[in-house]
């Protein structure tokens, strides 16, 4: 053992820089994993710490309509401390600026919050503890309209005095106000605004704390009542899961992206170790001649690989400390509570072990053939040039490695099959990258035969014996593929919204328009030379039965396959004579009109195709709706496919004309405003005339989307960068490996008359070509993956971003060139005599 340790140290000592470089292959992967896991750990700790303040109460019960008298009695039985809130979207008018905009209005009363702080600046302005006409506003409103404390804001028919700026509310992230800023008023002042009317869309909420019965027990005991009355009850635990799950999913995804960097690092270690150990074959043969057993000789290098694995993983852990500080900063605004950065030892240790194990396992592949090196090699250099592979052992190791990788992926996804799919997809991408890179290299050899010597020499370098072309291409290509796929998806999604914003599509949506306000809306729009492009009545209803089975029975059925959100949701349906804009009938016949002024059941309706699939109904199946207390039997007569990306009034269920005209309803309308100024003026004018009508500006929604998406995307790309960085390290490793033979070639070329600049050009062309192949393969695969994801997952159409593709391609080539030339410094100018003397 002493000999093994001593020789491993002595042998490695001269090549410590090279071994360190080899170790760095794994560094970025480990850093990515540890950073993500630490973030998750910190998040969970924060969730536990802030659990109760996430809800501000022990229990929250929400209804989409006002609470009935029976429900109020039900709440009395619940007991404990109680608070109320009504929240809905509304327009607010800012007299100082003379402008209005859509806000989320929240009227609160009672002792809310029971846990945590309702923080304002200045402090102590919680509207729940006040009866005065004072309002607390999101900071974005204060800034946008240059508001000061004491200024006035009008909601409906009532003026409010600005009491404070909102700092934080228990359970809400700063991003809660990104789509529409929040405004809080006392519940007692809501009626005076006149904003809540029949059919208005509002959430009514009860907060309870210190109830005699534990919230979970209360929910379990009253499940039937809650379900039948469409009351949604949430406890602290539910809220914790609601907040944690999306972030957990994001974390899992980031972890998998980090895992790709780790995997690539493992492949990098295998590549670097292979070329390192290839040069150790003579040493093994000599040692065996001198009396060392094959096992002893192999152990020497196994020990070196182990040290490489440990050092690489250790460096990754150190780097992760920096990244751990970065992730919370990136994602903090998405969190509903402050999150402190703390060292997560379990994450550090597991990340270190994952990294070391990956490096070790991948390092074993090139180590196995060493056991078969014959001592005869010391006598004849040509002997054993390619030692017989220990196929059995290599296959076993490959199967074990693949199994471990799949298990790792499975352990990091919510469902095991997701991990399995990820692992298989990753394997396929790697194989594809490998195959295409190998094919391109062959094509280059076969068809790329330019007259220019420099080009010919550079191309020949790519397929010389022991070349690393395919390996380098796969490394760089994988990084390119990952990052560019994400960029393309983001581009595609934003392109879609940009198209909507820039074309003649509607960009301003009005809702909550009462039937008697329609004429006035038209006329106001005409004043601004605008017209209503589409309008539709909206009738709210709930699903009461599917194919003869009551919804309450379906909900209790353990085998029920219909999602709760469909059964519980308030359906906003319409009636119209045609399928509607951006909708296409794909099955059955659309019935335009039904029975004139009366109606005969079942009424033929049209369902959106995906909704019909989720409900498990086909043409001819029956449903029953509860239309604000009146049951109505309907039959599915047609199915429609709707393009939801267009801002058009469309509905899951549409009724024929002649049925719902008499039902309580409100209208939705869309128009196209030419610019932001017109939009602002129109919103103010409408507010003056119809304060209850809300106008949604599509540009604001797009900006909000970009803001949220941008942060998440940046976090994902940040992880993708680790993969690219691993690719660069692998490239540097390959350069270091081949440096001596390159110096020999360079010296030989210089001896026969080549200038240093010609040698530099040969190298530049060679690395450029590697960049070209990696770019073509990586970007090509990214285009395929992004369009597949775009078509089947995100349902967006991609138009090829030619300029962006060219820029990305240029960037990949530049990275390969810069890394290659930087790593080859000094080679072109190496003095020929010195190298000849050294090599003799």
């Amino acid at each position: 053992m002493r000999f093994i340790l001593q020789t491993a140290f002595r042998d490695g000592r001269r090549q410590s820089r090279r071994l360190l470089l080899c170790a760095l292959s794994i560094m970025f992967g480990v850093a990515a994993l540890v950073a993500v896991d630490s973030f998750a750990d910190n998040l969970n700790r924060a969730l536990d710490r802030e659990a109760k303040s996430l809800l501000g109460a022990d229990l929250q019960i929400t209804s989409r309509s006002s609470f009935t008298e029976r429900t109020e009695l039900f709440f009395n039985r619940l007991g404990g401390q109680q608070a109320r809130e009504i929240r809905f979207a509304s327009m607010a008018y800012f007299p100082g600026a003379g402008k209005s905009r859509l806000i989320q209005l929240r009227a609160i009363g009672g002792g809310f919050p029971f846990y945590g702080e309702f923080e304002t600046e200045p402090a102590g302005a919680n509207p729940a503890q006040s009866d005065q006409a004072r309002i607390v506003l999101d900071p974005i409103l204060m800034t946008q309209y240059e508001l000061e404390i004491g200024d006035s804001v009008r909601l409906g028919e009532k003026d409010f005095e600005v009491a404070a700026e909102l700092v934080s509310v228990p359970g809400e992230a700063a991003f809660a106000g990104v789509f529409a800023p929040r405004a809080y008023i006392p519940l007692s002042q809501l009626k005076a605004t006149g904003l809540i009317g029949t059919g208005s869309i509002a959430f009514h909420r009860l907060y309870a704390a210190d109830t005699p019965m534990a919230p979970e027990a209360f929910i379990a005991e009253n499940k039937g009542y809650l379900t039948d009355n469409y009351l949604k009850a949430e406890t602290v635990q539910d809220q914790k899961e609601d907040v944690g799950r999306p972030l957990e999913n994001l974390n899992r995804f980031l972890g998998l992206v980090g895992f790709v960097a780790l995997l690539l690092g493992g492949v990098g270690i295998a590549g670097a170790a292979q070329s390192y150990l290839q040069q150790k074959r003579d040493t093994v043969a000599i040692l065996r001649c001198l009396g060392s057993s094959a096992r002893t000789a192999t152990w020497i290098f196994l020990l070196q690989i182990t040290v490489v694995a440990v050092v690489g993983s250790g460096c990754g852990v150190v780097l992760s400390l920096l990244c751990q500080a970065a992730l919370p900063v990136l994602l903090a605004p998405l969190l509903p509570f402050p999150m402190e950065f703390a060292l997560s030892w379990p994450s550090l240790i597991t990340g270190f072990l994952y990294g070391a194990a990956t490096a070790f396992i991948f390092g074993l592949f090139p180590l196995l053939p060493l056991r078969k090196i014959s001592p005869l090699r010391a006598l004849r250099a040509s002997y054993d040039e390619n030692p017989a592979r220990d196929k059995g052992a290599t296959r076993i190791l490959a199967v074990v490695t693949a199994g471990l990788l799949v298990l790792f992926c499975m352990s990091r996804t919510e469902a095991w099959w997701q991990g399995g799919i990820f692992a298989v997809a990753l394997g396929l991408v790697l194989l594809l990258l490998w195959g295409i890179a190998a094919l391109l290299k062959r094509l280059l050899k076969r068809f790329f035969n330019p007259r220019n010597y420099l080009l010919r020499q550079a191309a020949a370098n790519l397929h010389r014996p022991n070349n690393r072309t395919v390996f380098l291409t796969v490394s760089l290509g994988m990084g390119t593929f990952l990052i560019y796929t994400l960029v393309l998806i983001q581009t595609g999604l934003l392109q879609q919204t940009d198209i909507a914003a820039q074309s003649d599509e509607p960009n301003l949506l009005f809702f909550d328009v009462q039937p008697d306000q329609l004429k006035g809306l038209h006329s106001t729009l005409e004043d601004y030379k605008l017209e209503v492009l589409e309008e539709a009545p909206v009738v709210t209803m709930r699903l009461a039965a599917v194919k003869g089975t009551k919804v309450s029975a379906i909900k209790r059925d353990p085998d029920n396959s219909i999602d709760d959100w469909i059964l519980n949701r308030e359906w906003r349906s319409s009636y119209r004579g045609q399928p509607g804009p951006a909708a296409e009938v794909i099955e059955g016949d659309y019935v335009s009109e039904w029975n004139g002024d009366g109606f005969e059941e079942p009424v033929p309706i049209s369902l959106e195709a995906d909704m019909a699939r989720d409900l498990g109904v086909v043409i001819g199946d029956r449903l029953r709706f509860d239309i604000q207390g009146i049951p109505m039997e309907v039959v599915v007569s047609s199915l429609r496919r709707i393009d939801w990306t267009e801002l058009r009034p469309n509905f899951f269920a549409t009724f024929p004309l002649g049925v719902l005209e008499g039902a309580p309803q409100w209208w939705i309308a869309v128009t196209r405003s030419p610019d932001n100024e017109t939009t602002a003026d129109l919103q103010s004018a409408l507010f003056e005339e119809f304060p209850n009508i809300s106008a949604v500006d599509l540009n604001v929604v797009i900006n909000a989307l970009q803001s949220v998406f941008g942060r998440i995307n940046f976090a994902v790309q940040f992880m993708g960068l680790f993969t690219a960085a691993t690719g660069v390290i692998i490239l540097i490793n390959a350069l270091a490996t081949s440096r001596q033979s390159r110096i020999r070639e360079s010296v030989m070329l210089r001896t026969i008359g080549a200038s240093a600049s010609q040698i530099r050009r040969i190298m530049a062309i060679e690395y450029g070509l590697i960049g070209v192949i990696a770019g073509v393969v990586g970007i090509g695969l990214a285009l395929v993956a992004a369009s597949a994801l775009g078509t089947w997952v995100f349902k967006v159409e991609f138009s090829l971003p030619v300029l962006q593709i060219l820029s990305a391609f240029g960037l990949v080539v530049a990275v390969a060139l810069v890394t290659g030339l930087t790593g080859s410094r000094g080679i072109a100018t190496h003095p020929p005599l010195a190298i000849l003397r050294r090599e003799s």
Partner: protein
């Protein structure tokens, strides 16, 4: 050949045959090779390129296994040992000198020389290696790496390494093949001097008839068969 001795011969080769597969046909490199070499004597194997000299040396040293026949070193039949057993035997009884020196490039001259006894955990390996290096005139090159040494110096380091475990038999493959006349002569003088001091059995392969003549016995190979043997 010396055949009369009460002790077992240092090397006893009988019916030795070695074939390789070359494509689908079988290539016979050695056939019907029989000879003995008594302890303390030296033998030169000569013959044209491709006659099987190096193959014979490799088989005698246990670096490869014969297709038929046997090799007995100091009374031990090598074919009865497994791979690790042969390695252990080499470590204890055998020394090597190679044509292209075969020093481990990442170890210093001192460390290279010490490897055979370090392998067996012998204490004071560094002191013994230093002494031997001084004997071959490299006392001032102990910390140099192979790349920093000239060809003659490298072969002297290799000589020191070959003798450090006090082998009973020394195998040398074209020990002067990569050296010029002056350096080659110096290395040969050293080799025979060290050999004589330690009473080592020496078996070497060479093209150099002058060097062969210095050995006690000569064995001439052609097409894998012994065509002549002579005793000085």
């Amino acid at each position: 050949m010396q055949t009369s001795s009460q002790n077992p011969p240092a090397v006893n080769v009988s019916g030795l045959k070695k074939t390789y597969l070359s494509g689908e046909s079988e290539l016979t490199v050695l056939e019907g090779v029989d000879f003995r070499l008594e302890a303390g004597r030296s033998l030169a194997i000569v013959g044209p390129s491709g006659s099987g000299k190096t193959t014979l040396l490799g088989l005698c040293a246990g670096l490869d296994t014969p297709s038929a026949g046997s090799v007995e070193l100091l009374g031990t039949r090598l074919e009865e040992l497994d791979e690790d057993g042969r390695a252990d035997f080499r470590g204890r009884q055998v020394g090597f000198v190679f044509q292209d020196f075969q020093l481990i490039p990442t170890l210093t001259a001192l460390e290279n020389v010490a490897v055979p006894i370090d392998l067996r955990g012998v204490p004071d390996s560094a002191a013994r290696a230093r002494k031997l290096l001084e004997e071959v005139g490299l006392g001032n090159r102990l910390g140099h790496y192979p790349i920093q040494l000239s060809g003659g110096e490298k072969q002297r380091v290799a000589l020191a390494r070959a003798f450090i475990n006090e082998p009973a038999i020394l195998f040398a493959d074209e020990p002067t093949g990569n050296l010029d006349g002056s350096n080659g002569g110096h290395v040969i003088d050293l080799l025979f001097e060290l050999n004589a001091q330690r009473q080592t059995t020496l078996m070497l392969v060479t093209h150099d008839l002058g060097l062969a003549a210095k050995c006690d016995e000569q064995l001439s190979l052609e097409n894998g068969r012994i065509v002549a043997n002579a005793t000085a």
